[in-house]
């Protein structure tokens, strides 16, 4: 399959890339890892006239803790998350997520920024970033802005990014002691999109009371979903089996899946319930392993 013809631009700096986006307007698309965009171009669902390859822009690939945040550069590859000691030791929920995305070859090119900016409700990072309360940093012609991830996803393939803006960084608040998270994904085979995915992040105090909680859902709606009612229910309550079960029910009620090749809607709702239970349970275990000193 051959994509439609396009002009290829390879800016070396962010301002150059933004200028090209402004110059070419809707005719331009950003090429990051390309693992979603190139397949869409091959079947001509995407037909950009100008492809702005941002891979040569230096300084957009990093994973570091700074000023109370985990900061992930927009061009960081999924494979880099998988092999990061920082992610492995302190953010296992992100390791869960990255290692379930597509397959090893795809993860060598696919970027975290692209996974979010693509706006596909079937992508995995969005749910995890919703659970973690992440912020998206975007740089555009009018400078830099900071978008809470809960306001980022507007509809299918549509995000809060404005034309001319480039996602440069993802910021995740460094979890307090007593925090833990997990991502569970049900997939038919390696490389498939989620039938259902659930991310859960909790912070518990010394009395096992849930202080903070975030729950995100993958591929059960037009956007990645935040299970607000389940979160509100758990906050301030003991994180025991019975409350986890109740929260899982509320999360399932937030899901709006449609029936497709991956299963009927009813099945997916049940799976949201079960995966929420598992994700919260593992999040609680991991929180217990990062105790309050």
């Amino acid at each position: 399959m051959i994509p439609q013809s396009f002009e290829y631009c390879r800016p070396g700096t962010l301002p150059e890339a933004i200028a090209l986006l402004e110059q070419h307007g809707d005719a331009a698309k950003i090429l990051s890892g390309g693992q979603s965009l190139i397949p869409m171009m091959k079947v001509r669902l995407a037909r950009p006239e100008y492809l702005i390859d941002i891979n040569q822009i230096a300084g957009l690939q990093y994973i570091k803790e700074e000023n109370g945040y985990l900061k992930i550069g927009g061009l960081t590859r999924e494979a880099d998350l998988e092999t990061s000691d920082l992610v492995r030791s302190k953010y296992p929920i992100i390791l869960d997520t990255a290692s379930m995305i597509a397959d090893p070859q795809v993860r060598n090119l696919a970027t975290v920024g692209g996974n979010l900016a693509h706006g596909d409700p079937a992508n995995d990072h969005p749910a995890t970033m919703l659970a973690l309360g992440a912020e998206i940093i975007a740089v555009g012609p009018r400078g830099e802005r900071n978008i809470p991830v809960k306001d980022f996803f507007l509809s299918v393939f549509t995000t809060a990014l404005e034309h001319g803006e480039i996602l440069t960084e993802i910021r995740i608040p460094t979890p307090r002691a007593g925090s833990g998270g997990a991502y569970f994904k049900l997939e038919r085979k390696v490389g498939d999109f989620a039938t259902v995915g659930v991310a859960a992040q909790v912070t518990v105090d010394t009395a096992a009371i849930c202080q903070e909680v975030g729950i995100g859902l993958t591929n059960v709606g037009a956007t990645p979903l935040k299970a607000n009612r389940a979160e509100d229910f758990l906050r301030g309550k003991r994180l025991d089996e019975s409350n986890i079960k109740q929260a899982a029910q509320l999360a399932a009620e937030a899901a709006q899946p449609s029936s497709d090749l991956r299963g009927p809607a009813e099945y997916k709702v049940s799976m949201v319930k079960e995966l929420t239970r598992r994700a919260l349970t593992r999040a609680r275990e991991r929180a217990a392993a990062q105790p309050i000193r």
Binding site: S5, G34, N55, A102, P104, Q105, L109, V190, G191
Partner: protein, 163 residues
């Protein structure tokens, strides 16, 4: 018609260059422009891994990369795996352990396994299966493919000790 661009790459240690259309996929560049047909086009949809090549040390699916993106980079294909006519331990392993049935997935399997053994010279069976999880064998001969990779890991480890 888009402006043609010059792409310069190092393929299996050899400098190559060509004027290409930006939309030319890396797999077609390798097969049709360079004439290296060991890299196969399987599904053409980023699923099967038959087109796997190693780009700057990492296996990628060459049906999902534009050739122009490889500018200034190093590519290894199946043709670059043997050393002066001497089969690589992975190639030998696929022969010895009957890792090939129809053979179509084999180049991609070998390159994924090659990159795996570079990073992890003593993988467990699970790590091997994880390492080749982006490569499909429609003959479903995975059992012998895993054995072939184990054969290579053992042989490479022996050679290293002997050296």
């Amino acid at each position: 018609m888009a402006t043609k661009k010059l792409v310069r790459v190092k393929v299996n240690g050899r400098d190559r260059e060509a004027e290409i259309e930006p939309r030319l996929l890396l797999v077609h560049f390798i097969r049709d422009v360079l004439g290296l047909t060991g890299t196969h086009v399987g599904c053409d949809t980023t699923n099967c891994g038959a087109c796997t090549v190693i780009l700057d040390g990492r296996p990628v699916k060459s049906c999902t990369v534009f050739a122009i993106q490889a500018e200034g980079r190093e590519i290894q294909t199946i043709e670059g795996v043997a050393n002066n006519g001497q089969l690589h331990p992975l190639q030998e392993g696929f022969q010895e352990e009957h890792g090939l049935q129809c053979g179509f997935c084999t180049p991609g399997m070998i390159l994924s396994a090659y990159a795996l053994l570079e990073k992890n010279p003593h993988p467990t069976e699970e790590e091997i299966r994880w390492g080749i999880s982006g490569n499909l064998c429609r003959c479903t001969g995975y059992q012998n493919i895993v054995k072939a990779v184990q054969y290579a890991a053992n042989k490479m480890s022996e050679e290293k000790h002997a050296a």
